[in-house]
């Protein structure tokens, strides 16, 4: 267990460092940062002065270490566009995206897990077919277009829900539906495949032989093992959704991380952009690390192999 832990932690730290280097170099992709900050008709001397003021004349690795050290202490710099501290922009945006991701994951779990179980238990029946249709359809729907269709149907034709903004819970209905659709297919397929595998195993046959009722076999004995990969997938999906809701947030005018990232990209506001990238990556690394540890705790085969 200890060597597994050390190994996993080592990978996580290496990946974090690499990601931070990549996030840092996003800022340099834009070309000469000092010239951009100084404005369009700045003289050579003015650009040099800006470079000195922002420390841009130092070697790159010094700049990186300086940036990383500040980032660790929570100082992520300022937005080029609004001069607001990036840290405050992030803390303002995270709750919206986190809310959206949590709602979407709850909804998609409530749909995909029961559907996956039923499809596995009643293999090759109409329920199984329906599940497959949902899986294929959900994978193929262009996310942004589905969002627009939801607006058109529920917001404009039926007038049931608000179509933009984030004031009330009702505002989150359409975005939640749109985001949930993307995470349903994968989770349903994994639940179904896991259940099918477990139901064929020896201990389930033993349980059947003992004469246990079908309900207890499926929900008490089989589901416990089949649900493991679903739990880790859900955590990974949460990490993915933090950065994957750019389009949905843009369509429904939600002021979350994805929207901030998109604004930063359009405005070439690189301090905000690199902080969003770094933040999302670190959350993702933490979540996968936790998922791995949970799995290792629950399944001794993983930590011993």
């Amino acid at each position: 267990m200890v060597s597994f832990l050390v190994n996993r932690l080592f990978i996580a730290i290496m990946v974090t460092i690499t990601v931070s280097v990549i996030a840092f170099s996003l800022l340099r992709l834009s070309g000469d940062l000092a010239a951009e900050l100084a404005g369009d008709d700045a003289t050579e001397a003015e650009i040099a002065a800006v470079a000195k003021a922002y420390g841009l004349d130092r070697p790159l690795y010094v700049q990186y270490l300086d940036w990383a050290a500040k980032a660790v202490s929570g100082d992520l710099g300022q937005s080029i566009f609004s001069n607001e501290p990036v840290f405050e922009i992030l803390t303002g945006a995270v709750p919206t995206t986190a809310k959206l991701a949590v709602y979407a994951l709850i909804l998609s779990t409530l749909i995909s897990v029961p559907l996956g179980i039923i499809a596995a238990v009643h293999q090759n029946t109409w329920v199984d077919r329906l599940a497959l249709v949902i899986a294929v359809g959900g994978q193929a729907v262009p996310n942004f277009w589905f969002g627009l269709m939801m607006i058109l149907l529920f917001g404009v034709i039926l007038r049931w829900t608000p179509i933009s903004g984030q004031e009330t819970l009702a505002h989150f209905i359409l975005p939640t539906l749109t985001v949930a659709l993307t995470s349903i297919p994968q989770k349903m397929r994994i639940t179904r495949a896991g259940m099918i595998e477990v139901l064929q195993s020896d201990y389930i046959r033993t349980a059947r032989a003992k004469g246990l009722p079908q309900r207890s076999i499926i929900y008490k004995h089989a589901l416990r093992n089949a649900i493991l990969p679903v739990v880790s997938l859900t955590m990974v999906q949460f990490g993915f959704l933090l950065g994957g809701t750019v389009v949905v947030e843009t369509i429904f005018a939600l002021n979350g991380l994805g929207f901030e990232a998109f604004q930063a990209i359009i405005r070439q506001d690189f301090p905000v952009l690199q902080s969003v990238v770094l933040f999302i990556s670190i959350i993702y690394i933490l979540l996968t690390l936790i998922a791995d540890l949970i799995n290792a705790r629950l399944d001794p085969r993983i930590r011993l192999s």
Partner: protein, 317 residues
Amino acid sequence: MAPNDTAAATTMSVGAARRAANARPDLFDVRTPTPYEIMRGRAKSHPGFLVGMSIILVVGLCALFAPWIAPYNPFDQDISRRLINPIWGINSTWDNPLGTDAFGRDYLSRLIWGARVSMIIGIVAPAAACVIGTTIGLIGGYFGGRVDAFVMYLINTKLALPGLVVTLSLVAVFGGSMFVLICVLTFLFWDRYAIVLRTVTQQIRSQDFITAAEAIGCSRTRIIATEILPNVLNQMIVILTLEMALAILIEATLSFLGLGIQPPTPTWGNLIAEGRNFMFFKPYLVTIPGLALLVLAIAINMMGDGVRDITAPEGRN
């Protein structure tokens, strides 16, 4: 079987023998079908595969022959013929079966031309990602040890980055040309090949035929290319089809956000982005290109599931 039939069969070419077998199935019914024939048989009786392939073929032909098929030039504006409804709407005309957009451009022509961008991106980017990802996966899976640790580190780093945000940033910095889009999408898609093929290679690696190849002194490159690669082709093709659909959807997403191929070039994402402002009175401007995307993506997924059923039916669950 009569003796002269046997004599004829021995002098027949393989193709001729097959034709004879088709003409008189009772004559050769003991012959074991080749793997290729088994797969062809499965393909012919797999409705999903056939439907998917047909749709892809139609869209592909539209993309290839767009200048000859499209009734109008997709760039020609006609302010007097703005926002005409498609034929099922009111005041519609057969001159523009799918209506016109806000600049009076024929929507059917723009839709047909839009298939070009989708098809090019959908084929080239996943194929390039396939080459890179497969190479990385094979190397990691075959060599193991430190090499594999490095491969895992690359994969983990890629997974940790928010793919769409990085993609959008790169396109914003380097511009939305076809070349940039293909490079960026290649970067976005290589990891799944690497993950799956690494695992599969690890499983194959310990089998006897690999040990045999090593024993007779084959080089590592040769073992990877001629012993392992043919055995992982199935998985590779299945991922390739899934990524094709995904690449087409991501390209449309980039266009929709204004960071893809720039207007006035017709792409399905651009059509939706341009139609969005008129969505509430002219919903067809958004529904039609979206349905085109949906149908193409479903067709590709159906083909992908079909390829898996045909080449490796045991992997269905």
